[in-house]
Symmetry: C2
């Protein structure tokens, strides 16, 4: 198959690495340097212009979420009847709504593989990034079943576990809590610690692996995450408000030395164990 | 050497595992079940009563920080001139102040190895828990130099990197930011997500490795952490206030769609990379 990948960063590049075994991969990227790197790293067979997109059998869009809707509409305008287009955006509502009434809506599969690292760009592309990860497909009811199956076939070698969420809105709400909030929490933890610890030596000496794990996501790319936070504003604000309220309650308990409440609130949070263990077991 | 370990949980038990090769290990624990488990797991050679403590060459106190000061005073009262006592508490100011004027203050080494897991009890004890980890010794100036060297010799096989902080107060302040705040941040993240995600299936499906890493510390023991939060109240409140303020600022930026500020605040947090990478390089 001829597959075009629009956006040759961490995600697009990692897809390329996996798909190149079975397909001819054409890269599209607005960044000249990324184009060159993708060729050097042998992620793609050729760099093409978006105007050539009608020659493709499948098109993956892996660019920042704020650019996805515009490019997706353009791509849908250009493609032939049997071409399938799929994306990897971390938010789905704005993207799905943008093409809701497009005559080729059925050619689009709204996808979100839950995978990534804190690195970015073509050089960050790695093999097995998607192995055993969850892959969400939203609003499948608006996609052509044959083309949906075509995408499943293409991504089969990546060994993801695909689940379906019928509503893009519901996807965005849940993902705000389990992914976007974690990022904000880590970014602000990093900021708070950097501010107090003007002498880096002290963090260096005292930072245990606990801190490292909690703050890991603060290494993520602002370029990726700014548009995600903008696109999922509503649910992120909701989750942030609840998070801040919980922190304030905990602060009050410490202030008043309410040991019993502190104990109980932590004991409840321990329930996260069960869920994470369940996750591991199934992976 | 005859070494007594008071408190046979994760930390005391993991010390026991390492020290047993070269020393005779005597266990003291108020919990009958932990006594039995420590014997079964071969962590200690014998369980003894605290009244026998004067027969020891060295004593490690590895109990919750709110119990440490009382036990430490009792132990210092009972020991002979050349016995060394060291603890592993995550807070140091209250403990150091409690024995400031004790006639045997010089027999005490105030220690804090930055190591742990989210598990607790004798069964959680593991080998190599301390390998390459930072070990802080506070207020060495009040300890006898010969006994200080004796402790360094005892812990040598654990392969920690010992650093010195002359002020227990300064230790507590820094550790509030780089360790205690991370725990609160994770506990409250766990709580927030559990509350919204009443259907656990959704967390299970959508939780990526990012969430897992950020929330990991929410699995920690409330029994260990309640007293730590109480003992380090002052600096934890300070760090929490700054953290909450940073989250509120970020919230405001999202609310007002100040993309440039969102980008910049994350870019600054990215500096945590350098510090963590430096840490790795040296470990």
């Amino acid at each position: 198959m001829k597959i075009a990948i629009i956006g040759l960063g961490l995600i697009g590049g990692s897809f390329a690495l996996e798909l190149k075994k079975n397909h001819e991969i054409f890269g599209i990227d607005s960044n000249k340097k990324h184009q060159e790197q993708a060729l050097q790293l042998n992620l793609v067979d050729k760099i093409i212009d978006i105007e050539k997109i009608h020659k493709m059998d499948a098109i993956l869009i892996a660019i920042p979420v704020d650019k996805t809707a515009t490019i997706l509409k353009k791509v849908l305008d250009l493609i032939l009847e049997n071409t399938v287009v799929f994306d990897v955006g971390s938010t789905k509502e704005i993207i799905c709504n943008a093409v809701k009434n497009h005559p080729k809506r059925k050619n689009f599969i709204a996808m979100h593989p839950i995978a990534g690292t804190e690195h970015s760009g073509p050089k960050a592309a790695i093999k097995n990034l998607f192995k055993n990860k969850v892959n969400i497909i939203c609003e499948k009811q608006y996609s052509c079943e044959v083309l949906h199956k075509k995408v499943l076939k293409i991504i089969e070698p990546l060994q993801m576990r695909t689940v379906y969420i019928p509503s893009a809105k519901m996807h965005d709400k849940h993902i705000a809590y389990v992914s976007h909030l974690s990022h904000i929490s880590a970014f602000m933890l990093g900021k708070t610690v950097l501010e107090i610890e003007k002498e880096e030596k002290n963090i260096f000496d005292m930072a245990g692996s606990g801190f490292e794990s909690t703050v890991r996501l603060a290494k993520s790319s602002p370029k990726t995450w700014t548009p995600i936070f903008m696109q999922n504003k509503k649910y992120i604000l909701q989750s942030l408000d609840e998070y801040i309220q919980n922190l304030k309650t905990f602060r009050q308990y410490i202030q008043n030395q309410e040991e019993n409440n502190i104990y109980k609130i932590m004991e409840k949070s321990n329930n996260i164990k069960k869920i994470l263990n369940g996750k591991f077991k199934n992976n």
